[in-house]
Amino acid sequence: MTQAVVASSTLVGVDAIAVEVQIDVSAGLPAFTIVGLGDAAVLEARDRVRAAMRACGYEFPNARVTVNLAPAPVRKHGTGFDLPIALGILAATGQIPRSATDAVAVGELALDGGVRPVPGLLAHAIAADRTGRPFLLATDALPAVSAVAGISARPLDALSALRQGLPQPATGPPPARTPGRGGPDLAEVHGQPAAKRALEIAAAGGLGVLFVGPPGAGKTMLARRLPGILPPLTAQEAIESAVVHSVAGLDVEALLAGERPFRAPHHTASTAGLVGGGSPPRPGEASLAHNGVLFLDEAPEFSPAALQALRQPLEDGYLTLVRAEGRVRYPARFALVAAMNPCPCGFLGDLARPCTCPPAMVERYRARIGGPLMDRIDMTLRVDRIDPGCLLRDLPDECSQPVRERVTAARVQARERDGDRAANGGAALLRACALDAGSRRAVERAAHVHRLSGRGVTRLLRVARTIADLAGEERVREQHVLEASCYRAFS
């Protein structure tokens, strides 16, 4: 009777938790069983492992092979156990050196013995890094995990290469950090100075924006350019976001290069699609937008349940899914941009085309963006189609680059003043604003004339504080409050 143990891991949410793959090869009727709550993909490993071993010239033991995935009560998903199972059987039967089992192994096997990457490799790599052991993975996935500092990655092309023991450590080319590459540039939007200004303020203050305007006004174009004027992802943020994308099986190269994610779910998205769910649970759009921008186009058309589900991430920056098999937590801290038509037909307030909607219908339509979402919208702006003449005239429009620099400077100033916890409301916000006599009067007048609620005043101050930061001012002045009052919600 021979045994072997190989370390591996399985995903729970965006974390990989350690799993011990225990192999027992003993005499008896030839059989191959896997126990330990694996899903169908885990059980199919038996056929892939058998074929891959034979294809690489190894011998599959003509004996009773039992695989246990410990801890046994945790559900395990996916094809990442192929590699550790094969590794364990090979080590237990003495076909490869025992030292090969020192690594944490995660990978799927092809029938020809090739090793393929699995979703969430970045999360597995981080878990492996925590154990301090080398990480055995598919060569294809090497560039993505190179971003994990200090990891000892052992790339493996095929099972046959294990005859000499673990492969040598290798590092892929570190992802090039070239912020702003590829993403659409602000200069491509002609005109719309007020909307661009609102985007700049939103970027500087991390504020939610709602664009209201007829179809074809450029709401989506504007929203797509928000990631490009945000400062690039820090290394830490890039890893956080990339892990989520990796778990969802998406490309992480752009994220690791510092580009902020931009997610624009369609308004037919289900609640699970928006905030995550399913079995096994997968991160939703809100989590994929972590550290980036979540754009809700046609916001009133989203199902009320889906919008309601955004409440937790909007307030806490993460969301928790509670399912029969346990709780998983996904990060979801994003900048919110929403867009909507002014009315169901879209032409309310259009000078060229009259609106055909009855007033009561317009009100119902607007009321569909309910509480939790509106609470996180700090700025509302009307966006209109621009004059075609303006499109054809080749006026110089500002590029993203200088805007990004101003946004970064404003963020630095806010951070120096407020520290890590941004002053979002209450006494801290008032202190941060340091109103003078003129600006205090302006706030009072605006609150009176526009009948602002307490929350409305807080929003006004938050926007004014950000405008002052963009201007490099220590105190919020009257003109900052005046401009901020132009971005108040439509009542």
Binding site: L348, L351, D384, A446
Partner: protein, 299 residues
């Protein structure tokens, strides 16, 4: 049902409004709720449901003028200009009549519930040619418009698109031989096209208090005593004093969005937004529901 002020007037009854009886198609039965004496000849103030602040302010302003001169204000209790006229009249202590396209005891639109309750309690009257409890229906409203025109001696249209229900009320008014008055609007705004068309067709333009009082006197709603009694309804004129501020001048003449205004004045959007916000808190301009900024009554 005791304690409430319901009344039913049949064509030919002594209390049936005489001016209504003389219209081409007077309603055979008039169901009323409130004070029947409110059904004396008055001024109809009507306008769009999708009103701009300009239209709402005009409705409220001229309704107040009429109320303070003791003239009954008739309207249709619809959202927008109609409700603004009813409310301004009540605030000024005047009498106002709402003509509904449903039973006179039905709260429609729901937004008008408070106002209708005041009228039913005797601050005016709610009338309808439809049975008690009849729900509103699309076809009822044109019929309702003819009663509004019939109860009034003159019809003031404050803001109307083309074509629109408001415009049809003006047609009924002409059929019934009533004077039609209209408040002019921007020539660039389709929401004002109805009013401007009425003026072109011969309606009397109403641009200030004097214009309205002249017209009211012309149809016999204002005794000469009241005229010479120095009636100065609100003490203000909707005309804004001359201003040198280019932003204010531009917006008063033609409502615009900040972007368009910045282009027109060849300056940057942020400066324009600050100027607009200053004027807005000063009560000189207001934001329209479509995001443009334009004139409103001085507050």
């Amino acid at each position: 049902m005791t304690g409430d002020l319901r009344f039913v007037l049949r064509l030919g009854d002594p209390g049936y409004p005489a001016q209504l009886e003389l219209t081409p198609r007077p309603p055979r039965v008039l169901y009323g709720f409130g004070d029947p004496s409110a059904l004396r000849p008055g001024l109809a103030v009507i306008g769009s449901r999708k009103a701009t602040p300009y239209g709402l302010d005009c409705a409220a302003f001229f309704a107040r003028c009429a109320a303070e001169s003791g003239v009954v204000v008739v309207s249709g209790a619809a959202m927008g200009c109609d409700l603004a006229a009813h409310r301004a009249t009540l605030e000024a202590g005047g009498t106002t009549v709402a003509v509904l396209g449903c039973g006179a005891d039905v709260d429609y639109p729901a937004r008008a519930r408070d106002t209708l309750a005041l009228l039913r309690a005797g601050r005016g009257a709610v009338v309808s040619e439809f049975e008690w409890g009849m729900p509103p229906a699309r076809g009822h409203f044109p019929a309702r418009n003819r009663i509004i025109a019939g109860l009034a001696s003159a019809v003031l249209v404050v803001e109307a698109a083309l074509p629109s229900g408001t415009f049809s009320t003006a047609d009924h008014a002409l059929d019934a031989g009533r004077d039609v008055l209209a408040v002019p609007g921007s020539v660039f705004f389709h929401g004002s096209a109805g009013c401007n068309r009425l003026i072109r067709q011969g309606a009397a333009p109403v641009c200030c208090v004097e214009d309205l009082l002249d017209s009211l006197a012309g149809v016999g709603l204002l005794g000469s005593a009241a005229r010479t009694g120095g009636v100065d309804p609100a003490g203000v004129s909707p005309l804004s004093p001359e201003s040198a501020d280019p932003v204010l001048r531009a917006l008063l003449a033609h409502p615009m969005a900040p972007d368009a205004l910045a282009t027109a004045l060849e300056t940057d959007a942020v400066t324009v937004m600050q100027a607009i916000a200053r004027l807005e808190t000063g009560g000189r301009v207001a934001r329209y529901p479509d995001g443009r900024y334009g004139p409103c009554a001085p507050r």
